[in-house]
């Protein structure tokens, strides 16, 4: 069943020096219960896309077009108070830096409780507190009964991210957006957190949209993957398919950057050149200035995302249009 359907989404930042087209016509579907990875170099528009789903793109950013259907309803059309009811209740988000994502002056328990009460005013404070303890246990925080009364600064980095996950899970969301949730953590803790997320996903039957620039993580945890480049989705498919047989030259470049699968070295760095300025992206295929395989139409015509053989396989590259015809 389709949980989330993004259609031709455009999110632009109206900055002083021009319009930054951070997400420029992205279409994407997420299934119920799936673990979806969104990958791409820094500055490709991944976070912007994630924020747009909650309608929390910071100014001067704005959704400039398209639609986002969540269980069949276009949430971009909802009034703000209806959207608020969805945030933290049916769609939750966890951030890169758990330290920055927690209010330093309230206890972890307070922040869980207020998240529960914001969406379930009929629940008593006492019940919400009991649920908070239950949630801390669920995410594997030892001594939950005592730690629920502690402040964020009393938690270690890994425990803090667990607490953030507990808050995100407070109302049993159907979708969890995780924007580089382990970038600030060390490798062992990173593995623990991602394994935890994966277990919780199965247990609670939620979907996860994991934003990352680490291919190793995508390989290890996700069912499907989308590759973003310069505000565009350039390739989608089952993770195994995309990683074993990448089609788009950009995806190939990303994979070329990993020496061994799954290692911490799976950082996206080794494609020559840089992500273009999205205020003034290159014409045609946005990857063409860096593409080893560019040919005639590449700097003129923009390639559309077209289906390929294989389950849900799509790619946006002229190479495949040529093969097709």
């Amino acid at each position: 069943m389709t949980l989330l359907e993004i259609r031709d989404l455009k999110v632009y930042y109206y900055a002083f020096d021009g319009v930054v087209k951070a997400v420029d016509g992205v279409s994407l579907e997420l299934e119920s219960g799936e673990f979806f990875g969104l990958i791409g170099e820094s500055g490709c528009g991944k976070s912007t896309l994630g924020n747009a789903i909650l309608r929390l793109v910071p100014p001067p950013g704005r959704v400039a077009g398209g639609s986002i259907y969540f269980q069949g309803e276009d949430i971009l059309q909802l009034p703000e108070d209806r959207m608020r009811e969805i945030r933290g209740d049916r769609i939750s988000m966890i951030f890169q830096d758990p330290t920055a994502a927690l209010d330093p002056v309230y206890t972890i328990g307070d922040q869980i409780v207020e998240t529960i009460l914001a969406h379930n005013p009929e629940v008593s404070r006492k019940d919400a507190e009991a649920r908070a303890i239950e949630l801390l246990k669920l995410v594997g925080i030892p001594g939950a009964e005592a730690r629920v009364h502690e402040y964020p600064h009393q938690f270690s980095g890994g425990m803090r991210q667990r607490a953030v996950i507990a808050i995100a899970l407070a109302n049993n969301p159907e979708l969890l957006i995780a924007d580089e949730p382990t970038t600030n953590l060390d490798v062992t803790i990173e593995a623990q957190i991602l394994t935890l997320l994966d277990e919780l996903r199965r247990k609670l039957n939620m979907s996860i949209l994991l934003i990352t620039h680490n291919i190793g993580i995508v390989a290890e945890y996700t069912d499907r993957v989308g590759v973003m480049y310069a505000g565009k989705l350039v390739e989608v498919g089952r993770t195994v398919d995309v990683l074993t047989d990448p089609k788009h030259p950009y995806t190939r470049g990303l994979l070329g950057a990993i020496p061994g699968r799954g290692g911490r070295k799976g950082r996206v760095t080794e494609i020559p050149g840089t992500v273009p300025n999205l205020a003034n992206p290159p014409p045609g295929c946005r990857f063409h200035p860096r593409c080893p395989r560019r040919f005639d139409p590449c700097d003129q015509e923009e390639p559309a995302l077209v289906p390929l053989p294989g389950e849900g396989r799509m790619v946006a590259c002229h190479l495949y249009r040529r093969l097709e015809s």
Partner: protein
Amino acid sequence: MLDSDLLRLIGRRIVGLIPVMFGIAIIVFLVFSFVPGDPVTMLIGKQSDVSEEFIQQLRHKYGLDRPLYVRFFYFLRQLIHGDVGISYQFNRPALEVVLERLPATVELAFFALAVAIVIAIPAGIFAALKGGAVDRGIVGLSVVGFSMPNFWIAMLLILVFGTTLKVLPISGRLDVTLTVERVTGFYILDGILAGDWEVVRSALSHIILPALSLGIPAAALIVRLLRNNLISVLGAEFIRAARARGLRESAVIYKHALRNALIPTINIVALQLGFFLTGSFFVETVFAWPGMGRLAVDAIYARDYPVVIAAVMISALFFVLSNLLADILILVTDPRTRGVR
């Protein structure tokens, strides 16, 4: 944890206060020994019919003809017993003279702080939230408010409300026709205690202009600070995270952003309170407000150093107390400060 933190904090401040008070007293004493002129010459002033012999008698009476180290020794001995000496001007214990003036200063300080907070907090929030022209307007006003010295604001207020509109009194603490039994020394409180609403009304109307004169520049400073803090907190990740949790905008702003923005503002507010409590010579002079600031300055001119010492010691006490108050408030509002040594 909070309790033990509080006790430790209070203990440390009080213990720190004692050497400060002694140090200040000694410094003031020594400074006065080296500035030209002594209390007797100042007391006698330009009266030319006073004989040199009489002056010498007075000097002898006050011990001013003794060598400095002897006087210093006597002074220290007094000080250890908590006595700063007799006022030359009033011929009464200096501390008593100062304490008499204290309620006027404290009452004014309290109202000035109220003015500053009542103006600054809503204006700061409003500027930070509205942005644009509203923000620029408030920031502009705060620059003006802060760059006007408070005696200048006092003159302006007198001109507008006192002289031109004639709606508010511009001098003293009470209409001359009224009296109230002195219980606390705070006229408004004394009026309430006596059930004399005429006194309360008069005392309130007298305090408005001096309180505004002191409070406006402080408000201007606090507005800027609160606005900047609030804007920076509103850009913080945890505010976006709070929205992502589906909290109402009012909870996001008043529960999360404001509390975080107020913490770094507390120290500055306390500093302002400290200044108010030590008395403002200018404002007290302009409004003929019988407070400690004016008393202290008059005492300096009269070389009445026991009064100066008493006033400075009380001021130091107030500074420490307002800082202590700030520390306590910060301890209560910011959990990160608790349990750290």
